[in-house]
Every structure is written in structure tokens, then in C-alpha cells.
């Protein structure tokens, strides 16, 4: 356990996390899963608690989310999403499933119904992990650098389960202001991720 805690204290780099998911998907690698668990399970639990889930249930759901990680790891495409991003979508969907008893319809970046001509050429496999790592780094910096008024709304949107309309009600800001601030924030984050990678 001590080793795991040390690992959690110094965050592994995003490329390493992506490799771990690939290892779970390709080889059912339990050591890789344990390392992912040490890093992500406490964060998923924290995310769920922030969004209003009771701690006991958050614990249970975090474990279930990690089981989804195990089941879905083979579908993870490192070129399409960073490890944290992919696991965020799993945690988000697990929460919707548990709390609203609803599904979250998912698009597949490699949807066979989508004309191949519309897909950008994928970068070489060797470059993908490096690109994902750089994106995650730039994105973290961009979030840290958001003006306070935008950062507050972004956190409300992600951690308090509030659509634009409810954020407007609670902050007593006009809906148009909420929309434009979130749009500005999204624009900055999008720039940080890099248009070429999207």
C-alpha cells in the first residue's frame, strides 16, 4: 500500500497512464490495473462526492467505474483521448447511470458509419502518447490560467451537475452571460488542446 500511496503523491505522467490502460486492454494486466486504480479511483470518488454523491455510495461507484475501465480498456484509443479524459467520461457516465438511471449516449470516434474521408489522418503510433501528454499539460495550464469568472462557471458545470440554465439561475447572471463566458473558456481550452489533434 505504501508504494501505491507514494505513486499517488507524485502524479504519473499522462503517457504512462495511457500505456497502463492499453496494457489492461491488450493483456488483462492486473499490475497495470492496480496502478491505474491507485491513481484514478480516489479521484473518481472525489469527483462523485463533489457532485453530491454520499461518500459510501461514491466509494461503491468509484469501484464500479474502475470495473468499467477494466471492461472497456480494449476500446481505448490513445490517439483519440488522454487517459484522464477517457476515465472522466467513464466516471461521468457511471454517475448518470447510478443517479438518474439513464444512459449517456456515446459517440465513437471511429464510428464505422462515419465516412472515412472525414477522418483526419492519424499521427504515427509512436507520436501519439507524446502528443497526448503535451495536450494534457497544456490543458492543465489553460485551466489554471482561466480568468476567475470563467473558471468558476467551468467548475460549476463539471462538478455541480448544472446545465447552463441552472448556472444562470444560481449565479443570477443572465443566461447569455453564462453562455458567453463558458464559450470563451471552451475556446481557450480548445486552443490549448490544439486544433490539429481534433
Amino acid at each position: 500500500m505504501a508504494a501505491l500511496q507514494r505513486q499517488a503523491a507524485s502524479p504519473p505522467d499522462p503517457a504512462r497512464l495511457a500505456e497502463l490502460i492499453v496494457a489492461v486492454g491488450a493483456r488483462r494486466d492486473r499490475a497495470a490495473f492496480a496502478e491505474l486504480f491507485a491513481y484514478f479511483a480516489p479521484r473518481i470518488k472525489a469527483y462523485l462526492i463533489k457532485r453530491g454523491t454520499a461518500p459510501g455510495e461514491a466509494e461503491e461507484l468509484a469501484q464500479e467505474a474502475m470495473i468499467m475501465v477494466w471492461r472497456r480498456a480494449a476500446t481505448y484509443a490513445p490517439a483519440k483521448a488522454g487517459a484522464s479524459t477517457w476515465i472522466f467520461t467513464i466516471a461521468r457516465n457511471k454517475r448518470i447511470d447510478a443517479l438518474r438511471r439513464e444512459r449517456h449516449p456515446e459517440y465513437d470516434p471511429q464510428d464505422p458509419a462515419v465516412a472515412a474521408a472525414l477522418e483526419p489522418a492519424a499521427p504515427e503510433a509512436a507520436d501519439r502518447a507524446a502528443v497526448a501528454a503535451q495536450q494534457a499539460e497544456r490543458l492543465s495550464q489553460a485551466i489554471a490560467a482561466l480568468p476567475a469568472e470563467q473558471a468558476e462557471l467551468v467548475r460549476m458545470a463539471y462538478f455541480e451537475d448544472k446545465a447552463h440554465g441552472r448556472i444562470a439561475e444560481e449565479t443570477a447572471l443572465p443566461l447569455g452571460t453564462v453562455k458567453s463566458r463558458l464559450r470563451l473558456a471552451l475556446g481557450r481550452l480548445r486552443k490549448a488542446v490544439g486544433e490539429d489533434a481534433l
Binding site: L4, A8, R30, A34, F37, F40, P42, R43, I44, K45, A46, Y47, K50, A58, E59, A62, Q63, I67, W70, R71, A74, T75, K80, A81, G82, A83, S84, T85, I87, F88, T89, R92, N93, R100, R101, R103, P105, E106, Y107, A113, A115, A117, E119, P120, Q135, A136, L139, I143, Y158, F159, A163, H164, K179, L182, L186, L189, R190, V193, E195, L198
Partner: protein, 226 residues
């Protein structure tokens, strides 16, 4: 059909960034999220916007102060993995693949969309309701319809009490605002009355979401009975 496919262009009509953002954070209800996901599957531009918003979620998840887990959390999870079967394989592409439906929708339609309960709406126009298939049920007044228009057919003139969100899955149609083709999506509110007409050379299939029932608005007869 194949002639049009080769001429396919990227969608020209997109969903609002606010809606894409709410989809990414998980704030949308399932029915509207289904329409958003169907558009996003067909639209590279909106996929980029959603990917950025999801990446922001990922970055926030990475930064969050971790919660303390139960001491046996990992052991218990590993024990549950022992009971796991191999990862469930995706559903085999059946008849649904021939319709070239976006993935998010296939999960709701089963193997063969033609076997859905298609009800005639007007000459050359029929619709299959997806909301009765939702389990658990969607909110009371929510309706999600697959609407099929024969080439050149006109949908009944209608308006809505709430919003209508539509994405074109195949073919295209035109109304007073413009022309829409595969992948195009848009939202109109109660102020809009329209009677879309399918483009002439292909069956048009679209997915429409209503948060309140649509209302037929018959045209005022041109020759009035004065």
C-alpha cells in the same frame, strides 16, 4: 443513394456550443443527449468541441484532491474482476449498419430499424417513436422520433410548444431556412412553424427530439370560403 454518398460533404449546420458543453459535462437528459451524440458522431467539427470539453473534464479530474478509499477497495475490486467475463463485444453490425446510422442510435434501434413500429404521418412520410423503447422511461412529454420522408415528400406543417432538435441521418430536406443534409443538426423553438420537404433523389431519414409534443398547423386555405 450511392450517387449522393460520394458527393457527401461535412455537415454545414451545427449544434450550439452550450449544448455540446452540457453533453460533455453530463448535464443533458438522455433523449437530447442521444440527438447530440448522433450529430457529434457525424460531425468532425462538433466532435472536436466535445473532445475539448471532455479533455477539460479529464484535466479537472486529474487535479482534484483525491478522496480516501476504503482500505480494502483495490482487493474488493480485484475480487470482482475475477467474476468478470471477457469484455462484452460490441453488437454485431446487422441491418442497422446498412442504414449507416451513427453508433449512438444503433443501441436504441436493435438489429433492424425497418422492424420498428412505423406510423404514417402524411403522404410519403412515416415515423417511428423511440421514446416508448426507453428503459427507464424518459420524462413524460419527451418525444424522440425517427422520421422517414420519401424523396420529395413534405412533412406535415407543424410547430412545437417547446424545442425541436433534429439531426439528418440520411438524405436531406429543405425548409424556409435552408437545406439540410446528412449530419446537419439544428434546434428550433416554439416560434418556428415549418413544413420540411425531402430533397428529390433520396429517402430522407432524420432523428427528431421534442421536449413537448409537436402541434400540427394546417395551412390556411389559399382559396378562402368567403
Amino acid at each position: 443513394m450511392t450517387a449522393r454518398l460520394s458527393a457527401h460533404h461535412p455537415p454545414a449546420h451545427h449544434l450550439d456550443d452550450a449544448l455540446l458543453f452540457d453533453y460533455a459535462t453530463g448535464a443533458l437528459g438522455e433523449a437530447l443527449a442521444l440527438v447530440v451524440a448522433s450529430h457529434v458522431a457525424l460531425c468532425e467539427i462538433c466532435r472536436g468541441t466535445v473532445a475539448a470539453a471532455e479533455a477539460a473534464g479529464g484535466a479537472l479530474l486529474a487535479e482534484i484532491a483525491p478522496a480516501v478509499l476504503a482500505p480494502d477497495a483495490l482487493e474488493r475490486t480485484l475480487a470482482r474482476l475475477d467474476a468478470e467475463e471477457a469484455a462484452a463485444s460490441p453488437p454485431p453490425p446487422g441491418a442497422a449498419a446498412e442504414w449507416r446510422l451513427p453508433g449512438p442510435l444503433v443501441a436504441y434501434l436493435g438489429e433492424d430499424p425497418a422492424a420498428l413500429d412505423w406510423q404514417p404521418l402524411a403522404a410519403g412520410v412515416d415515423a417511428a417513436a423511440l421514446h416508448p423503447l426507453a428503459a427507464p422511461a424518459w420524462p413524460m412529454r419527451t418525444q424522440v422520433l425517427l422520421v422517414r420522408l420519401a424523396p420529395g415528400a413534405m412533412a406535415p406543417r407543424h410547430t412545437h410548444e417547446g424545442i425541436e432538435a433534429t439531426v439528418i441521418l440520411q438524405g436531406g430536406f429543405a425548409d424556409q431556412f435552408g437545406q439540410y443534409e446528412r449530419g446537419d443538426a439544428w434546434i428550433v423553438d416554439a416560434s418556428v412553424t415549418h413544413a420540411p420537404v425531402a430533397l428529390p433523389d433520396e429517402t430522407c431519414l432524420c432523428l427528431a427530439y421534442y421536449d413537448a409534443p409537436m402541434k400540427a398547423v394546417p395551412l390556411t386555405p389559399i382559396v378562402s370560403s368567403i
